[in-house]
């Protein structure tokens, strides 16, 4: 993928498989070298902070939300000298698994975490 040109095919993907395909990979292996840091329960489904870090020499990072209408939320391109780290904020319509994908040495690896979107109320 080119950094300058919007990856239309990937962003129009309606499923994990669509996006994996558009990124030129089969389902990536889960890896402890990829860390997805995000709240367990979203404070606001419209603003969910998601942070991805990796111990790999990553040149790309992607964030996917399984149950969003468009699965791919964002894709990042990291030139040499930029750390394998990004934080952004995304929208989630409902409770879903969120995938952090990291590409290093031409291969994608990933981490998964469920983020809950709740109606709220009640309390101690």
């Amino acid at each position: 993928a080119q950094a300058e040109e919007w990856n239309k095919a990937a962003f129009e993907g309606k499923s994990l498989d669509d996006v994996f395909k558009a990124l030129g990979t089969s389902t990536p292996d889960k890896s402890s070298a990829v860390t997805l840091n995000a709240p367990d329960i979203a404070e606001n489904g419209a603003v969910v902070p998601v942070s991805v870090t990796s111990t790999l020499k990553a040149d790309q990072i992607a964030i996917l939300v399984e149950k969003n209408p468009s699965t791919l939320a964002a894709q990042f391109f990291l030139p040499a000298g930029t750390e394998a780290f990004v934080t952004t904020r995304i929208k989630m319509g409902q409770t879903s698994n969120v995938y952090a994908l990291v590409k290093a040495d031409g291969k994608w690896a990933m981490a998964v975490k469920e983020i809950k979107v709740t109606l709220g109320g009640c309390g101690g």
Partner: protein, 559 residues
């Protein structure tokens, strides 16, 4: 059961009950979740406090006889009354009321005098829960906390006064006196800290670090519009960094003053290294014996100190050779008639109440029944609120939030406006009447049930199940999200997924509901109580619960 009619005998008993020999050289006093109860009250502990999955049958998910057995408390004693619902009405008449800041103040003074250098920690939920706290915007509680000698605090319901008011109290009233700590509150834009994460205090030559942890799910459990510029969350990674930082600065004892709730704290303690203790609140569990949690850094003690001013906790560490070698912990029930009132605190409270006294004292009705709130599914005071909502709003179904605060009334007592506000005094008291489909009702019940019974504590919010009037249902707490609620029936008939039902409720968290601005709940229920004059025996609408036979977190009600 024994009552002392002889004052000197009573004083001797009190001295013995509160005689706590000093131990070690680091002393922390802790109270939490007093919910603005300045006066002595009754407070009945729950007979349903279910633990699901790996939490089943473990502290704090034990009730009644199970609780007594696990904690080595003999039945029929003062302590048994303090920590359980057993034989509540009769025992309450015998032992009297609990809490009250004037009595708490005397006890704090006594313990502080025996333990030079000790710190008093306030776990939060202090500025909300009474008529006077609501009407003074928390000023009464800010003044009371200063008079009590609180040194450090963290927060939850405080935030429902709004960001600006919190900052006003923190930066004006508390400046240089009470430190407000929260490692997990950041600005919503660049994620900068809003409050100090920790404070290191030198106690008898030992650097002691207190780290603050505010309620992680404040903008979810309560309206997010009160804190639009702040974010919360558990922030485990930042907590570990903070622990490492205070250790690098020389702290020999590291304690988390937490408003996470007990289950979240137990999980947190298993994952974070370097905490000697978590002094916890939010779930209102009175836990007499700290749970020792093993983690990669050693052992962390996890406690929870109950609610409503009912208890004062004392944690003593013996620090030798640069680390705690042993500890003592005591969660002391505050029995109001065993401890003389502190005169200056009593005067302060009287002054606070003076402008409001006639409003507080207005008698709305009397009750023939024991009225309480705590329990996973329903309480008799909640049932009164549900019945009032359905009657006054002409609704076939009512919802009432599963708050864990709210005091208890004995059979024969008057129900005053003050008592009603103890159940309802919040800054978003709007009543709502909505047309909901059967589907929507199911979605709501499933959502709240998952916040209570998700097997992973980090996905729990620590309240109780929404109270439901009119509608019957069956719940399987151990089932997965979306599969817990079945058999929803209205007047014996299964709910139709697509049919629309009229549902009354209160305490909506959405900004839209605020703008609609329904009649405050206390006005609706006050009207209802004035009309019915007497609350007769209360018929609790509770769900049928599946899969909990043998679970020591539930016992049949014996009022």
């Amino acid at each position: 059961l024994s009552l002392h009619s002889n004052p000197s005998m009573a004083q001797a008993a009190a001295n013995k009950f509160y005689d706590l020999p000093k131990y070690g050289n680091v002393h922390l006093l802790h109270f939490t979740d007093c919910h603005a109860q300045l006066q002595p009250i009754y407070f009945r502990e729950p007979n349903v406090n279910l633990g699901i999955g790996s939490q089943a049958g473990k502290t704090p998910h034990l009730v009644g006889e199970y609780f007594l057995k696990a904690n080595g408390i003999p039945a029929g004693t003062r302590d048994a009354h303090a920590f359980t619902y057993l034989n509540f009405t009769e025992a309450a008449k015998t032992y009297g009321q609990v809490g009250g800041f004037a009595h708490l103040a005397t006890l704090v003074k006594q313990i502080k005098a025996s333990r030079p250098g000790s710190l008093l920690l306030d776990g939060g939920d202090t500025w909300q829960g009474s008529g006077t706290a609501l009407w003074t915007n928390g000023q009464d509680m800010a003044n009371a906390a200063l008079a009590l000698g609180v040194d450090l605090m963290t927060a939850h319901w405080e935030m429902t006064l709004g960001e600006d008011r919190v900052m006003e109290i923190v930066n004006k009233d508390f400046k240089g006196k009470i430190e407000f700590l929260a490692q997990n509150i950041k600005t919503a834009d660049f994620g900068d800290p809003v409050f100090p994460s920790y404070s290191i205090r030198n106690m008898n030559g030992i650097p002691v670090a207190i780290i603050g942890q505010a309620f992680p799910y404040t903008p979810i459990a309560n309206p997010g519009y009160f804190v639009p510029n702040w974010t919360f969350g558990i922030q485990e990674e930042n907590l570990q960094k903070t622990i490492d930082e205070v250790k690098a600065k020389g702290a020999k004892v590291v304690v988390l003053l937490s408003h996470n709730g007990m289950d979240v704290d137990l999980k947190l303690a298993s994952r974070v290294r370097g905490l000697h203790a978590i002094l916890g609140g939010h779930t209102h569990d009175g836990v007499p014996i700290p749970v020792k949690v093993q983690n990669a850094g050693g052992t962390t003690l996890v406690t929870n100190a109950g609610s409503n001013g009912k208890y004062l906790a004392v944690l003593d560490f013996d620090v030798k050779g640069g680390k705690p070698v042993d500890f003592r912990y005591k969660l002391m029930p505050v029995f109001s008639n065993l401890i003389p009132a502190d005169q200056s605190m009593a005067a302060l409270i009287q002054n606070i109440r003076k402008p409001y006294e006639s409003r507080l004292q207005e008698v709305l009705a009397t009750t023939d029944a024991l009225l309480y709130r705590r329990g996973n599914f329903n309480g008799s005071f909640d049932q009164v609120i549900l019945d009032g909502l359905m009657a006054q709003k002409n609704a076939e179904i009512a919802f009432s939030p599963g708050f864990r605060w709210g005091t208890t009334l004995l059979p024969g007592q008057n129900i005053t406006m003050e008592n009603l506000l103890d159940q309802t005094a919040i800054t978003y008291p709007y009543t709502t009447v909505n047309a909901m489909t059967g589907n929507t009702i199911k979605t709501i019940l499933e959502d709240v049930a998952d916040n209570l019974f998700n097997p992973d504590p980090y996905y729990q919010q620590g309240g109780d199940m929404v109270r439901v009037g009119g509608l019957q249902y069956t719940i399987d707490p151990a089932a997965s999200m979306g599969k817990r609620i079945t058999e929803m029936r209205l007047n014996g008939k299964l709910l139709d997924a697509d049919k629309v039902y009229k549902v009354a409720g209160w305490a909506p968290v959405s900004e839209a509901a605020k703008n609609t601005g329904g009649e405050p709940i206390w006005d609706v229920i006050a009207r209802h109580l004035r009309e019915i004059k007497t609350v007769k025996a209360v018929q609790l609408n509770e769900p049928a619960i599946i899969g909990v036979s043998g679970n020591p977190g539930i016992a049949p009600i014996s009022i």
